[in-house]
C-alpha cells in the first residue's frame, strides 16, 4: 500500500509516494537526494540522523515518513542562506569541531534547535542539549566551544 505524502523540506514542498514502513531518512536521502543527513545506529541513540521537524529535533532513521506528512522538515542542507554558512557552521570550522565529519550534521541540527529556542544558552544547557549526539573523534570539547562562541551575549 503506497501513500502520497507532502513534506516541506528546507522551504520547498515535495510530494512523494511511500510505503507505510518507509522512514523519513529514506525519503530524504533516496527520493530527494539530500544525502547530508547521515545514518548510523538505526536506534535513535547516536544522533547522526537528526533533522528538525517543525523546528524540533527528531531521529529521522526511526521516524516513519507517513508520520511526518504535512510537516516542515529542515536538514543540514537547509541551514545555509544564499550560499552563506550560518555563524554556527562557521564556528564549527573555526574551532576545529569537525574531524571525520560523519556526526557533524546531527550536531549542527541539534545545536541549531537549541540556539533557536535559547539564544543565550549557558554552557551546562549546551552540554545537556548535545548529550544525545555521539562524536568519536573530537572528544566534544571543541564542539561545545563552537556552540558557546555563537551564543548571543547580552549587550
Amino acid at each position: 500500500m503506497s501513500i502520497e505524502i507532502t513534506l516541506e523540506v528546507n522551504g520547498r514542498t515535495h510530494r512523494a509516494r511511500v510505503e507505510p514502513t518507509t522512514t523519513l531518512i529514506e525519503v530524504l536521502r533516496e527520493t530527494l537526494g539530500l544525502t547530508g543527513t547521515n545514518k548510523d545506529c538505526g536506534m535513535g541513540i547516536c544522533g547522526v540522523c537528526t533533522v528538525l521537524v517543525n523546528g524540533r529535533t527528531a531521529s529521522s532513521c526511526i521516524l516513519l515518513a507517513v508520520q511526518a506528512d504535512g510537516e516542515r522538515i529542515t536538514t543540514v542542507e537547509g541551514l545555509e542562506q544564499d550560499g552563506h554558512l550560518t555563524p554556527l557552521q562557521e564556528s564549527f570550522l573555526r574551532f576545529g569541531a569537525v574531524q571525520c565529519g560523519y556526526c557533524t550534521p546531527g550536531f549542527l541540527m541539534t545545536a541549531t534547535a537549541l540556539l533557536a529556542e535559547k539564544p543565550r544558552a549557558t554552557r551546562p544547557e549546551i552540554v545537556d542539549a548535545l548529550r544525545g549526539n555521539i562524536c568519536r573523534c573530537t572528544g566534544y570539547k571543541k564542539i561545545v566551544e563552537a556552540v558557546e562562541s555563537v551564543v548571543a551575549r547580552p549587550s
Binding site: 535513535g44 527528531a58 531521529s59 526511526i62 548529550r131 544525545g132 555521539i134
Partner: protein
C-alpha cells in the same frame, strides 16, 4: 517485502474499529519510536499500522476541579517536562521526564506509548506506580480503568487487552504533607538505556510525629517489569525514616527485586545501586514533605 496497510485514525473509535478488524495483526503507532527501531533491527515487519498520532482527543493535559491531573496518551515527554500544570500538580513528573534519554527522544516519544510499551527500563512506569495513577483504556466495549500497580504484567506486556488503547492517565491529587522525588542511576542517560536503575518515591509525612503515613515506591531497571515495591513500602509505612528503619527497608528491597545482569553491570551491583538511589530519593522526598513544598503548590 510484504504489503503493509496503513490507517491514519482521527478519532479513538476509528482506531478501535481498525484494531478490531485487524484481529491482533495491527501495530499501533504513537511516537513510532519503538516500532521504528524494531523494524530497523528486522525484528518486526508490520502488516498493518494504525497511526493514532493525530487523534486530538488523546492529546492534552488537564487539571480537574478536584485536583486530579489527566495526561493524554499522546502527550510527549517534553510536554510533561515543561507543563506548568504538571509541575504544580505532580512535581515528580517533570523531574522524571528530565531524566529520559535526550531532547530528540523527548520531543517525539509519548507518555502513553512509553507506558504501553512497558519497557522495564522505562521512567514513566516508575512514576505512575509511585503516584498511584489510574490508566484509562478505550476498547470496543468502551472505557475501563486499570490501577497503575496492576498495569505492568510481564516483559513488554501490560494489562491492555487486544484491541484496546491507552487513552489517558489520571493522577489523584497529592495528600497534604506529601513529598515526592525521582532518582535515576545512568552512566550516560542518552545511551545506556539498557543499564539504568530508577526510583520514584511519594512519601506522606505526619508533621507532628515525623512518621511516614503513606508511601508509594516504584522502581525501574531492576527486573523484567517495572516494579511496585510493596514489601519495601510496608517496611517504611508508619515508621519514622531513621537510619535503622531505612537500613531494614533496603534489606527488604534487595530481596524484593530481581535485576538482570547486562553488558555493563552485574545483578548484585544493580541491587546495591537500587538501595543507594532509594536512600537518596527517599531523603529528598521526606525533606520536601517536611518543607511542605508539595502541599503549598
Amino acid at each position: 517485502m510484504s504489503e503493509c496497510r496503513y490507517t491514519r485514525a482521527r478519532r479513538v473509535d476509528e482506531a478501535v474499529a481498525a484494531l478490531a478488524e485487524a484481529k491482533g495483526d495491527a501495530h499501533v503507532i504513537a511516537g513510532g519510536i519503538a516500532l521504528g527501531i524494531l523494524m530497523n533491527e528486522k525484528l518486526v515487519s508490520p502488516t498493518w499500522l494504525v497511526d493514532i498520532s493525530r487523534i486530538e482527543a488523546l492529546k492534552g493535559i488537564v487539571r480537574g476541579p478536584d485536583g486530579t491531573l489527566r495526561i493524554g496518551a499522546l502527550t510527549t515527554h517534553r510536554e510533561v517536562e515543561e507543563s506548568p500544570a504538571v509541575a504544580a500538580a505532580q512535581p515528580m513528573l517533570p523531574e522524571m521526564a528530565a531524566e529520559i534519554a535526550c531532547g530528540r527522544i523527548k520531543n517525539r516519544g509519548t507518555f502513553g506509548g512509553n507506558l504501553s510499551l512497558a519497557d522495564p527500563q522505562g521512567d514513566p512506569p516508575v512514576a505512575v506506580i509511585a503516584l498511584r495513577a489510574t490508566m484509562r483504556a478505550a476498547g470496543p466495549l468502551g472505557v475501563r480503568d486499570i490501577p497503575a500497580t496492576e498495569f505492568f504484567r510481564d516483559l513488554y506486556t501490560t494489562a491492555l487487552r487486544e484491541g484496546e488503547l491507552l487513552q489517558e492517565v489520571l493522577f489523584p491529587p497529592l495528600a497534604p504533607g506529601a513529598g515526592t522525588a525521582y532518582g535515576k542511576f545512568a552512566a550516560r542517560r542518552a545511551m545506556d538505556y539498557t543499564s539504568t536503575v530508577a526510583v520514584g518515591v511519594r512519601a506522606v509525612v505526619e508533621p507532628a510525629t515525623g512518621c511516614i503515613k503513606d508511601i508509594g515506591l516504584g522502581l525501574g531497571g531492576v527486573g523484567p517489569i517495572p516494579v511496585w515495591a510493596r514489601a519495601t513500602e510496608a517496611a517504611l509505612r508508619g515508621m519514622r525514616p531513621e537510619p535503622a528503619v531505612i537500613d531494614r527497608a533496603c534489606d527488604v528491597l534487595v530481596d524484593e527485586i530481581e535485576p538482570l545482569a547486562d553488558h555493563l553491570y552485574s545483578a548484585d551491583f544493580k541491587r546495591h545501586v537500587a538501595t543507594v538511589i532509594l536512600r537518596r530519593t527517599l531523603a529528598r522526598a521526606c525533606a520536601r514533605a517536611a518543607r511542605g513544598v508539595e502541599a503549598r503548590r
